[in-house]
Amino acid sequence: MNDKRKYIVRGFILVVAIVFLSRLFYLQVLNDDLKAKAQSKTVKSITTYPARGVIFERNGKEVIAGNKLVYDLTVVVKDAKKNPIQDTAKFYRLLGTTAEEYLKVYYTKTNDSLTRDYSPIIPMSLIEISPQRHASIIDKFHYSGFGFTSRTVRDYKYPILANAFGYLSKVDKQDMIRDEQGYYVEQDTIGKIGLERNYEKALRGQKGVRKVIKNARGIIKKSFMEGAQDTNAVAGYSLISSIDLDLQLLGEKLMKGKKGSIVAIDPKTGEILTIVSSPSYDPNDLVVNKNFSKNYSALRNDSTIPLFDRATMTRYPPGSTFKPLCALIGLQEGVISPTNLIYTGSCPNVGDHAAIGYYNVGRAIQSSSNCYFIQLFKRTVQQGKKEHWHDDAKYGLMKWRQHVVSFGLGSTLGSDISQENGGFVPDTNTYQRKWPGFKWNSETIRSLGIGQGEMGLTPLQMANMTVAIANKGYYITPHLIKAIVTPKGEYDRLEYKKHVTTIDSIHFQPVIDGMEAVVLNGTARLAQIPGIAVCGKTGTAENPHGDDHSLFVAFAPKDDPKIAVAVIVENSGYGSTWAAPIASLLIERHLTGEVKRENLVKHVLKYKNK
């Protein structure tokens, strides 16, 4: 045989072998992209979801926002088609659904070409079944291809605190953009608003991952790398809220059918004992389940806006409840002294209900004299420090505002309620904009002195202002969560900042005395509680949208304040009529542990907003 050709043939075989080995070396040793692709094709990450942390009432004994199991009916379409259901009527009856409802879900899920995940051999969730129904049908439910999977959703024992606690929902585009760590994937749930949103990271825990190998048909064969890369789900942290459950339930009961809000705070700690926004909704209606969208859109379209948290988001004019603060500013600025008398016969058109006469600061508060406080406001703003009236008023207003702001008004308090509104306290710019070129002075803006005009405070801010008065000059950032409990049971108490007001503590006594007199024999005698020194102030806020709002702020006991309350009942007229008794009942319940004045409760329950 031709020698040269012998080698050419061998050379050809070697060239082929070398080409093959180069290609194989590239594929197997050098190329990482294909390996990653191979892994993504075969290794499936199954996410395990931890139980969300629960939220306790203030003693950590009873759960307010808990978890419950729900079941989803699942179907493996291929198996279900093999043995079609004979008695379909019974099938629907067992599931508590109708043919129409069931088939709609079934066909959407199996026919939608957009659902890339659809596979006839992988279990697919269809409809949700309550645990009770699941327990009752599990023995009778034998259909080829059908089964159940479980998951947890929020569960609320009481239909309370819906707005403060907030709700969960499926993540949307915005959530995904905000999620810098890439924690969420589509269909995950996230705290949308309220505490659920604010404490999302603590509550959600940590998802776990189980990596499994699936075959070409998508069926799981075994765990990947014997589970070396798997992680366990870590349960969410639980929260101890500051809510006094009994007080909250009483507050919700008293506000039923009314529009308005209650906020009660423990002055010593800043803990929010009760927060009511009415009308509200049953939080069980907004758990992530099949009814979520339906219920949500119903609530969205409700004209009483139950999804709106009035306690932290509505700006009410504080009305006369603002007068104690104005008195304190006057005392601090030295424009009056506790014994100074002011004659109240000089104010036309201020709608004063107090008799004309000579008033000191305590009596002025007790009788809620509009004329007194308008004169006091003019003195405070118009101190004659600047030459021109207008400039003097501008200077004085900013000084006045500085004191007001130190009570946590005009900006958000930094509470742990995510949707908190900052309210509004006007400054010089407000009036420059309102009257461009007009040389306004203290007379022009006098209604500020009686809590009307441009002022706007949220109920939370009103309660907090009362706390600062009760504490004689400081408040602690109001909050709903006082501690976080880890799954292991470690108790982590949260620290909140103490804020000191610009008013010296010596000035508080005459004002507090005046507020006590309001309850004893002033405008809010309905708020009296036998044996307890209650200090309060009524307010009747004029409201451009309708009837006046009834307002009342109070704290008790006078010498060792344990609770400060703000109550607003919208469009219900005088503050003394509805708001004062509600506050009084809450104080009684909190300080004595019971409500003895059943008649007063009945009286309060009588009133309903239209």
Binding site: I13, Q28, V29, K41, I213, K214, N215, A216, R217
Partner: protein, 495 residues
């Protein structure tokens, strides 16, 4: 039975050793490819407790291996002269079965090339290879080496035909060469008719045999160049290639010695390759069926091209739709949908096997995932992974190390057979030996090439590895007839 005493003395144990290693590895990897954690089948098990035999291919392969030893015994016992004497008869019988299978055969995967005997399915095409090798060896050894009919001679024939030359030519030699080609082409054509074009391609390996035996270089050179032009026709616009050929011809006409034969030769070559290019294009676009065409186009980035095109067309579509041209956007939408369908077809068809095979091999890395640990193998992601795509299982479970081992074993094996062929005194045995090497090489080339995206998906087995009785037996017969001839290399067979 007078040769019995010599068997143990002169049989080539190295080849037998390599053969055993390849068959044993094949068996082990068939077991791995079919092993299922639910079935937990044993390597010898033939069926499950429920009588189901699907998934128990390793057990069956073991049976086929045992049967191989019966075959080997039979081959070695038969007188070595028989293979020379009966070469044409065997060839004729096999050709007859080729025809019979067209009438009585069973269709599997679109090819009517199987006899279903109940317990086993036989593919006559597999046995055509050794029969053709025997017949070709006998024909060439009878006629003797006379490949003096060179390219120039062909040109002379044409020149003479055109009346431009008066040189004498030996038409008898040309006739013998065409007969040799016919012996190879006849079974190949029948196999194509059976619908198994892939198996027919293997017969191209006989060119190597003829080349080694003295066939003028221009024949394999022409074939290699034709393949190159075929690939060009896929990659470049046709007119560009035609211009290229034209320029090449003109340049060559300036360079060569000016004789009428040379000028005819160059022009002929130019026309021939132009025809190849034209034919390739026609073949790919008009003769091949869609699924066959994508087997080729997937190699040259068809998938990426479709994805890019879909993205561009979608942008156009959205722009037109948003501008409010309802009618125009409907047309664009229709076009978009049809090209999307092409991509889905591609991914579900030709691209599916090759993509997954490539992924599995790549995932093996340097040292592999470990025996029976390949995750793509375990998930049955590569179709036919115990038959035609068994190399993907080896690649995934043994990594580059395993690839090196398999490629190395095959090269060693082929070199050993060629070495044995070259020590034959008998021309018949030498030609036959080279045929054995060439056929195994063609399978090796096409099969492994296809699993690593160097060749189109052509369903032919990897010798000794792929599951299947027909293929294992045909390679065993092919090899052991040669080893039998080798044992008697001292005895002159003919002439």
């Amino acid at each position: 039975m007078r040769n019995q005493g010599k068997i143990g003395v002169s049989i080539d144990w190295i080849t037998i050793g390599l053969y055993l290693i390849l068959v044993l590895m094949g068996w082990l990897f068939i077991y791995s490819a079919r092993y299922d954690e639910v079935l937990e089948q044993g390597i010898f098990q033939l069926s499950g407790s429920d009588g189901n035999s699907f998934g128990y291919e390793a057990g069956k392969q073991f049976l086929w291996i045992l049967l191989c030893f019966v075959l080997i015994g039979t081959i070695l016992v038969i007188d070595f002269k028989f293979y020379y004497e009966s070469a044409y008869i065997v060839y004729a019988v096999i050709l007859f079965t080729f025809l019979a299978v067209l009438v009585f055969g069973t269709e599997v995967n679109g090819a009517k090339s199987w006899f279903d005997l109940g317990f086993v399915r036989l593919q006559p095409a597999e046995f055509g290879k050794f029969a053709t090798a025997l017949a070709l060896a006998r024909f060439i050894s009878t006629k003797g080496p006379k490949y003096s009919f060179s390219f120039k001679d062909y040109c002379t024939v044409i020149a003479k035909f055109l009346g431009m030359s008066t040189q004498a030519i030996r038409l008898k030699v040309l006739w013998d060469e065409l007969t040799a080609a016919g012996i190879v082409l006849l079974p190949a054509v029948l196999i194509v008719i059976q619908g198994d074009a892939g198996s027919a391609l293997v017969y191209g390996g006989f060119i190597i045999v003829l080349y080694a035996d003295g066939l003028p270089s221009f024949v394999p050179a022409t074939i290699l160049l034709s393949i190159a032009f075929f690939i060009f026709s896929l990659l470049f616009p046709l007119d560009m290639i035609f211009y290229g050929i034209g320029i090449g011809v003109v340049l060559l006409l300036f360079i060569i010695r000016k004789s009428i034969e040379n000028i005819i030769g160059v022009i002929l070559a130019g026309l021939f390759f132009a025809l190849v290019v034209f034919g390739s294009d026609y073949f790919v676009n008009d003769i091949l069926k869609q699924h066959q065409r994508t087997r080729i186009t997937v190699l040259i980035g068809e998938e990426d091209r479709l994805v890019t095109q879909i993205n561009e067309w979608r942008a156009d579509y959205i722009a037109v739709r948003d501008s409010g041209h309802v009618a125009k956007s409907k047309v664009l939408k229709h076009e978009l949908d049809s090209i999307r369908q092409c991509l889905y077809d591609l991914r579900g068809g030709a691209a599916y096997n090759i993509n997954n095979s490539e992924l599995a091999i790549s995932y093996g890395g340097g040292w592999g995932q470990g025996y029976r640990e390949g995750i793509l193998t375990k998930g049955n992601h590569v179709p036919e992974q115990h038959t035609d795509f068994i190399f993907s299982t080896i690649g995934e479970e043994m990594g580059f190390f395993g690839s090196l081992l398999v490629v190395g074993l095959f090269v060693t094996f082929l070199f050993r057979i060629m070495y044995l062929a070259e020590r034959q005194k008998s021309h018949f045995a030498r030609i036959y030996g080279y045929s054995v090497a060439a056929i195994i090489f063609m399978h090796f080339l096409i099969n492994i090439g296809m699993t690593i995206r160097l060749f189109p998906v052509i369903g032919i087995p990897l010798p000794f590895f792929s599951y299947g009785g027909s293929s294992l037996w045909s390679f065993t017969i092919l090899l052991f007839i040669f080893l039998k001839l080798d044992m008697h290399r001292g005895q002159v067979l003919s002439r």
